[in-house]
Subunit: 525 residues, 2 copies
């Protein structure tokens, strides 16, 4: 474990043995009246209670000293200065600049100009200044994108449904190349008052271009070719390709090399979201993220929420062998948040070489999975409480709700009850365990991240918090969180197979899929 | 490992060492021209290609002999005969009876009578014989249920969207106690032509009753109290409670002790689904499940799809330490299938005592997670290809599509490209690995389950296949897959916390949640 100094590794190994042998969450609370306070960190919008983790002061101190050894503090500063490089692609990683209010931030003017262009466009749709080919108001927007061009905007548009602008069109998302997805999105709408926003950095992404072509064809069933441009917009770093597709230059918004797809919600990729919630709420989203940026930049490591989350993940995956991490939101507005986090965390940290291309001996990214409470209690919590596989867990808990504050108490009570069940097991109500199928062992680690309620600012903070957790975690591991070379080979092989299914040749001995391909030909039309 | 005979355990341990040291999927295909055929099993509707697993003939043979030692064959027969008991709750487990066509099946008449009552009710809605309080056709149904009363019907209604009856009302699902969920379901609809179907075995489930109360209140804003019964139906084993709630006896459908919630899609819990797709398609769903029942009952273990899936899961979790299992459907109609499977598998197998209440030394249920391809390629596949954590994987692949058969080729090509990337890594295109951030190691185990396309029969088969995989897996582990004691304690503790949040008392020293509770009070209204 070259990244970890030998003494640190020895210490952490010994500490993990202590934790396994002698630590229980129950005892930790009994022996320390300040445990809850001691293991809580707060930012302007979020509080992290990590007192129910398999962690004590010695563990945290050792992890913090490792973070210092990794120069985490400096690297955080580098991130904000644009000095930190996406080395394997020789690019900056400057997504945090997208929400900066400091005019000295790199690309500041470019970013502000783009935000202004986005706002003007959004207001023109909301206010009905930009109209359809029949001079009617745009009522629906189909956002076409996949991966980082889809998951963030979709998650946020759903989460902020109480903040949708009353005059905004309804926003729909089309991502999958599965023809069912396009049918689902298009069949229910009328081209006459629908705007298509095509989001693809390269403007060559297979799924997005196929769907864009389907959408343009669908538009042209009602809209004449000289007016179709009124129904199209694009977000891309290849504007020339978008123009060729038939999109007006004024309806094309830039993407930049220095923003990775999974960090791009704050850029023009958020255009559909901005139209949905209105530019003012979009500014609040940015401002909430900026609050978290400041927290990450200026708070000592031992009180720094994303840093603590990264230390936990590093500790569990490398010393306690918890290779899965569950996100359970007691907030049904966050239904798509676990999906969003899967990309953000797993695509960033699912690596096996370090930034110098040396094989890394550590356990890198965890499997991220989860769901929404209370539904999850009636689904997979059984395994969390009584299974043999262990997963680290983060609960997300709003303290109140715009929907129905009185009924919201059930969310609090259920989340705390699940937390106590995980922490104490059967002992929560009964000192003696019966040791049968009803017994719950407890001592299952988890944190609770709580916040007032889902608002644009708080969502901005929450997303930025996980972005920074991913970055801090990557610094501990010494890996590049901004590339994703593992997805390239599949794209190349897809071309091979599309040829095989289009023009099947005599059985190729090297294929491993004779059966599937032969069966496929039976159904091919 | 008392469940496993010592010699078997020794053999499996040795075999797993061989696999780790000397087996690659690449070599396995190179050295055996019949590997694809040898490791493929077929039923009427499904084909399982497990030739890309970390498995060879010796492993399969040893696992099969263990299955015989566990008397799996007999236990499968017992399951269908109703002899296999849910021991800890002293109940039968007879969900397969729900689709039996054999009049000697236990409860056969009761089941047929219920199906007939359901069909009559469904047709009366579809044909407009059962009308709203204003004598109009029912246009919307809100299915209220949670967990097993929600996940199956919701998943299937979405999956069968090409099979919805043209005159059927639209089906909506309301499950979470989060007030946002109820708002989402109710705000967009009009009580005048909406029917509420309340699904709760006990008719006391917190979420379902709270939502049922909200829905009834919402109805009563438009519907007078003497006519509200026209807008209500229930599925429950406590009809007296449903009657008390204001539901007509003729609109109450039974649930039975011998059907667990997560296996209940085929029962009256499927009423909303039946109304949506029509009784004829519902019968096809049952018939597809029956085909899989016959396959499971009559096929030798070494060709038996659910058995092989169970053996794989047992092998990976106990001998190769893969504690997560990913379901990736190249079929966006199966968007909710991974969620459905989470409950089915994790609630059934997330146990740590055997059927005699002895602690079990084995690794039981895996963490089930996943998503829909091709979207998942742009999200978490990076980790599957280049991460350090390993997860076993099942791809679900339809060979054609009702939506757009021509575009469907992309789903095939992408799925096979991902499979080959997982199997061979960089060597798929290049003999020499560059050993840098672009290198993919390969040798990642996975299966492909393929089928013609999503139809009621095939969906029935697919669900039954996973039900039986879970059962076979539980037999190997000697655990009870039909109980879920781990969720009881949380329900009890929830009552404690609902009191604390309703009537906060002076700080209770024993609580671990002073901070959260104090913050909550600030926002409480």
């Amino acid at each position: 474990m070259a990244i970890i100094p030998p003494q640190t590794h020895t210490n952490l190994t010994k500490l993990s043995q202590n934790i396994k042998d002698a630590f229980t969450i129950e005892n930790a609370f009994e022996s320390s009246p300040i445990r809850e306070r001691q293991f809580t960190a707060s930012s302007k919008h979020l509080t992290l209670d990590y007192s129910k983790e398999l962690i004590d002061k010695h563990v945290i101190d050792e992890l913090l000293s490792f973070a210092e050894h990794r120069k985490l503090n400096y690297k955080i500063q580098h991130l904000f200065e644009g000095a930190y490089l996406n080395l394997s692609e020789a690019r900056q990683a400057l997504h945090s600049a997208l929400r900066s209010s400091d005019i000295h931030t790199p690309h500041f003017k470019l970013i502000q100009n783009t935000l202004n262009k986005m706002s003007a466009f959004a207001w023109s749709i909301i206010n009905g200044n930009r109209l359809s080919h029949t001079q009617k108001k745009i009522k629906h927007i189909i956002h076409v994108g996949v991966g980082g061009s889809d998951l963030g905007p979709k998650m946020a548009t759903f989460a902020l449904k109480h903040y949708l602008h009353p005059n905004a069109p309804e926003i729909h998302f089309l991502s999958n190349i599965d023809p069912n997805d396009a049918n689902q999105a298009l069949d229910q709408l009328n081209p006459d008052h629908t705007l298509i926003i095509i989001c693809s950095k390269t403007f060559t992404t297979l799924e997005t271009l196929e769907n864009a072509n389907l959408a343009r064809k669908w538009l042209s069933s009602r809209v004449s070719s000289d007016k179709i441009h009124l129904h199209l917009a694009a977000v891309t770093s290849s504007p020339e390709k978008a123009i060729e597709f038939g999109i007006d230059e004024e309806s094309i918004f830039p993407m930049w090399d220095w923003v990775g797809g999974r960090f791009s919600l704050w850029s023009a990729i958020g255009l559909s979201l901005m139209i949905g919630i209105g530019p003012d709420n979009f500014q609040l989203l940015l401002s909430g993220a900026r609050d978290m940026d400041n927290h990450f930049k200026t708070t000592p490591l031992d009180q720094n929420i994303p840093v603590i989350m990264a230390l936990k993940a590093f500790w569990y995956s490398n010393y306690l062998h918890l290779n899965a991490h569950s996100i359970i939101a007691y907030d049904s507005l966050l239904e798509y948040f676990p999906n969003f986090l899967q990309q953000l965390d797993m695509e960033s940290l699912g690596k096996s070489v370090d930034i110098n291309n040396n094989p890394i001996q550590l356990s890198t990214g965890q499997v991220i999975w989860g769901g929404v409470g209370t539904n999850s209690q009636h689904s997979f919590h059984q395994l969390l409480h009584q299974g043999t596989v262990k997963s680290s867990i983060e609960f997300l808990l709003p303290l109140t709700s715009d929907a129905n504050p009185a009924q919201h108490k059930w969310m609090i009570a259920n989340c705390l009850a699940q937390s106590e069940t995980l922490a104490l097991g059967t002992k929560a109500i009964n000192e003696t365990m019966s040791n049968d199928c009803t017994s719950i062992e407890g001592n299952k680690p988890h944190s609770i991240i709580f916040y007032e309620k889902m608002t644009p600012e708080i969502l901005g903070s929450l997303i930025a918090c996980y972005e920074h957790k991913v970055f801090a975690h990557s610094v501990l591991l010494n890996i590049n969180p901004f590339d994703q070379w593992g997805v390239e080979l599949g794209k190349q092989l897809c071309k091979k197979y599309i040829q095989q299914v289009d023009q099947p040749t005599p059985k190729d001995k090297s294929t491993m899929y004779n059966n599937i391909l032969n069966q496929y030909l039976k159904y091919k039309k």
